[in-house]
């Protein structure tokens, strides 16, 4: 009997504009979003590969220069051009390593906060610079947000579902077929559920099929556990909206009222709740303006500069064996001081950053708790996490850079402090970020 209802329902559905609208427009929207997404990700991969290539080229060049010098085929012009100098290898110019947050397999699906936060940065002995290859992007474009798969799924799919399901029973009532249906030995609820199930299958079929077809076309890898999770998430989300449609069709309301009510819920979950959450979160845990941070940084730098020699002297007292006394080159004395100062500045700045870090963390915690009130927000957050474009992951870049800087310093600084230059065969031991 279920098959029969499906069969007849299909005869109705295939003559309905709402269905064909969905069947044509939705795949196109998904296709366009995935096209943009795969472009974005390809660009990231290219940027990463280019930077890695220049890094490799630089160190290869350094090594061949150094080998030439060791063979006696070349001479060193100046200390800052000496490829054996730890400063040249770890601090100056192109020296240093890039740390990347590599795109995850599902990265093309959600742009997340990528337009705002950087996904890579450069680490040198004193430098810790998150880089944005999209710093020139028009801020105006960021206001509207990205047209990604997450947007199509979270924002638009519910609307298609509402269009397909708002009047499943109410239209029977308005057409008058309701009483005849009601006189049959099957409950209206059973009919309603079956009508909804076929619509659910159709909508999910359209989404998943076009997702797969476009993904294959654009080279997005969905055939893994992540892809499966995605399909489950899509089904859960669409079920939620279909369930709301069922609920509205159980009440004896008109089609127009159903449309109003369902759209109202859509507005509630996608616009009202998020705006209220963002209001609550920012007023409970306000993050101070960065304008203050800029001047504060300067204050710290000035303080360290003022303490200058005292800081260095006390460092020497604590680390007597790490400083070569006597007739050392000028650059050694300069840079020994600079490293101590840079270290102090970095520590103090890190401390001062807390006034931003703390409220930001509390905001995120509170928001993630409140988010459960709105399935669309929950799904959006989940998709961003899966795509690796969520705030938390992008924020983790700085920590990773810091960790790598530690490693980098541990390699170069002891050598520099002992005024020990590197040999060409040591260059292969220069730290590489494990993630790359």
């Amino acid at each position: 009997m279920m098959i029969h209802i499906f069969d007849f329902e299909w005869r109705h559905i295939r003559t309905s504009g709402a269905f064909w609208g969905t069947a044509i427009i939705l795949p196109l929207l998904i296709g366009f979003s995935l096209y943009l997404g795969s472009n974005r990700t390809t660009q990231h991969v290219e940027t990463i590969n280019e930077l890695l290539a220049t890094e490799t080229a630089f160190y290869d060049d350094m090594r061949s220069q150094l080998e030439a010098i060791e063979r006696g085929d070349a001479e060193v012009d100046a200390w800052f051009q000496n490829p054996a100098n730890p400063l040249v290898l770890g601090q100056f110019g192109e020296a240093g390593r890039h740390i990347f947050l590599h795109p995850k397999p599902l990265a093309p699906l959600a742009a997340g906060q990528l337009d705002i936060l950087p996904y890579y940065g450069k680490v040198t002995l004193t430098g810790l610079e998150p880089l944005r290859d999209n710093a020139l992007e028009n801020p105006f474009m960021q206001v509207s947000g990205s047209f990604d798969f997450a947007f199509v799924l979270v924002w638009l799919v519910p609307l298609f579902i509402i269009v397909m399901g708002y009047n499943v029973i109410s239209s029977e009532r308005e057409r008058g077929t309701y009483s005849l249906l009601q006189s049959q030995p099957i409950s209206i609820r059973a009919i309603l559920f079956q009508k909804m199930i076929i619509r659910f299958l159709l909508v999910n079929g359209i989404i998943i099929l076009s997702l797969i077809v476009w993904s294959v076309m654009f080279g997005i890898d969905l055939f893994n556990i992540q892809g499966l999770q995605l399909i489950v998430a899509i089904s859960l989300y669409t079920s939620f909206w279909f369930a709301l449609c069922v609920l509205f069709n159980l009440f004896q309301t008109s089609s127009a009222m159903n449309a109003v009510g369902l759209t109202g819920l859509w507005v509630f979950f996608l616009l009202i709740i998020p705006s209220v959450i963002s209001l609550i979160v920012t007023s409970l845990h306000p993050v101070p303006s960065r304008a203050l941070w800029i001047t504060e940084q300067r204050t710290i730098q000035q303080a360290v500069q003022a303490e200058g020699d005292d800081l260095f002297d006390s460092w020497i007292v604590e680390h007597p064996e790490e400083f070569v006394e006597g007739d050392t080159p000028q650059f050694y004395n300069t840079w020994m001081r600079r490293f101590v100062w840079a270290q102090t500045v970095a520590e103090r700045e890190h401390e001062a950053e807390r006034q931003f870090e703390e409220p930001r963390k509390r905001q995120a915690q509170l928001a993630s708790r409140l988010r459960v009130l709105s399935p669309p927000m929950t799904l959006q957050a989940w998709l961003e996490r899966k795509a690796g474009t969520d705030t938390e992951r992008l924020r983790s870049l700085e920590g990773e850079m810091r960790a790598f800087q530690q490693e980098w310093q541990e390699f170069f600084l002891p050598r520099f402090r002992r005024l020990e230059f590197l040999r060409s065969d040591e260059l292969i031991h220069i730290p590489v970020s494990h993630k790359n």
Partner: protein, 472 residues
């Protein structure tokens, strides 16, 4: 007289409709909350920026005795002003950097946008009056008006009214004005709240033009939506299809077209990535004077020309400090290069925005949002105006520093020349005043014209529809 009764009848019905009343009250509540929370936010931000501005100046003046050129490298900051109007419409405000670092030799981008520090739920929606006006208010209008004509047809009142001697034109005119009345009933209290806010923050005077313009823009936008609602309600076969058509219009206009067009625009007019940009700048910089490298080809040529002009053989014999002169020469050259490259980026941004603003032919909400941002002074043009002023200040400050070096670091004083707090205190300081005419810029005109066109067209179609229905 007939029209008056229809308006009154319409208004009475709306006021008795619980759904409409509760939605109207909800919108008013949200508006109030958004403005009240805006007051806090605004005063806090304004305070912090003020502090930062003062501190930055103090830091500049107390940077200690040093060579003027070291001071140029030390640099200072320009802070983007916090405007009261951004409470009504933040526009791009959250996404542009709050401050620009001003230093010698280079122009920097504004850094640290508020968006970086904010929680991501804000990207769904941020409770501001502009958001409520652009998204929620149209829904309210649609809800209040989708049945207005088709409903009368469905319950048979239409024929009955006609038999009472009411013409379709009168009915539609009455319904339209009734809807307008409902809109004003919610909009006027907002105007009061808005004015009160501006009074409280002591910024009514300076923002009167902007605020009035913004208020007018949204009202025109509501008019467009109201007209479309009545048109659809007149032509639709049933109130159900009227609802669905209007909701589709709303979704396409507020949600789909804006996102689609911005993403298409950045695809058609791509901005270079930062690395490429700096690479191009570096390449061009090599073509001119490097103030720091006296041995570069261009520097040598410049030095020789200066020496010849003054008839001396050595820079030490010049009556002024040559380095100061060369630094200024280099600074000006660098500025030209940066200006050139920034202008290119700016042109790309303009093209993107132009495409976007023309897409408001498809979406009245784009037209309204863009005009409102412009009126609030939170659009890209206003931000660029600030950046240009900051850059103009930077180059003046650099000139001051280089000139001092050129004039005073002469002879015996040349070696180890330094200036102190007294000098820095006399340096130009940067205060940014947003001029009123920021709005009047050619790039702003299309959205406004298109919005007015929407208004005229929708009113025109409405009257045509009314006349056509008459014949039937």
């Amino acid at each position: 007289m007939i029209i008056y009764s229809i308006i009154r009848n319409e208004l009475t019905q709306q006021i008795r409709d619980k759904v409409i009343v509760s939605l109207g009250l909800l919108i008013l509540l949200l508006l109030t909350v958004s403005v009240v929370s805006g007051i806090n936010y605004y005063s806090e931000m304004a305070d912090q920026h003020h502090q930062a501005e003062e501190l930055a100046r103090v830091q500049w003046e107390n940077q200690g005795a040093k060579n003027p050129h070291s001071a140029a490298h030390y640099g200072t900051f320009a802070f983007k002003p916090v405007t009261a109007m951004s409470v009504f419409d933040p526009g791009v405000d959250r996404y542009t950097g709050v401050s620009i670092f001003l230093e010698g030799h280079r122009q920097n981008f504004a850094a640290y946008s508020l968006a970086e520090d904010k929680e991501a739920s804000r990207r769904f929606a941020e409770l501001t009056p502009a958001f409520i006006f652009a998204y929620l208010f149209p829904l309210f209008i649609i809800l209040a008006g989708y049945r207005s004509v088709v409903g009368e047809k469905e319950n048979g009142m239409y024929r009955y009214l006609k038999s009472q001697g009411v013409s379709t034109g009168q009915l539609i005119a009455g319904k339209t004005m009734g809807l307008w009345a409902v809109i004003l009933l919610i909009y006027l209290p907002f105007l009061l709240i808005g004015c009160l806010f501006l009074l409280l923050t002591d910024s009514l005077g300076s923002n009167l033009t902007g605020f009035s313009l913004m208020v007018a823009v949204w009202l025109v936008y509501f008019g467009v939506i109201a007209h479309i609602t009545i048109i659809v309600s007149t032509l639709a076969k049933s109130s159900g299809s009227s609802m669905v058509i209007l909701l589709s219009v709303w979704i396409i206009s507020t949600l789909l077209v804006p996102r689609l067009i911005t993403n298409i625009a950045s695809g058609i007019y791509p901005v270079p990535d930062t690395t490429q940009f700096y690479q191009a700048v570096r390449t061009d910089l090599l073509e001119g004077i490097d103030g720091h490298n006296p041995y570069s080809e261009h520097s040598v040529a410049f030095r020789d020309s200066v020496l010849t002009a003054h008839g001396v053989d050595d820079v030490a014999d010049l009556p002024f400090n040559f380095r100061g002169m060369m630094l200024q020469e280099g600074e000006e050259f660098e500025k030209r290069i940066y200006d050139h490259h920034f202008a290119k980026i700016d042109e790309i941004h303009r093209s993107q925005i132009r495409l976007f603003s023309f897409s408001s032919i498809l979406s009245p909400s784009i037209a309204a949002r863009m005009t409102s941002m412009a009126a609030a002074g939170t659009d890209m043009h206003s931000f660029n105006h600030f950046s240009r002023k900051a850059e103009a200040y930077r180059i003046e400050l650099m000139r001051e520093l280089n000139l001092d070096l050129k004039i005073h670091a002469v002879g015996e004083r040349a070696a180890g020349y330094a200036v102190g707090g007294e000098f820095f205190a006399q340096n130009l300081s940067f205060t940014y005043e947003r001029p009123d005419q920021v709005f009047i810029d050619s790039s702003k005109i299309p959205p406004l014209i298109i919005l007015l066109f929407w208004f005229g067209a929708s009113a025109g179609i409405l009257s045509v529809v009314a006349r056509k229905e008459e014949v039937l």
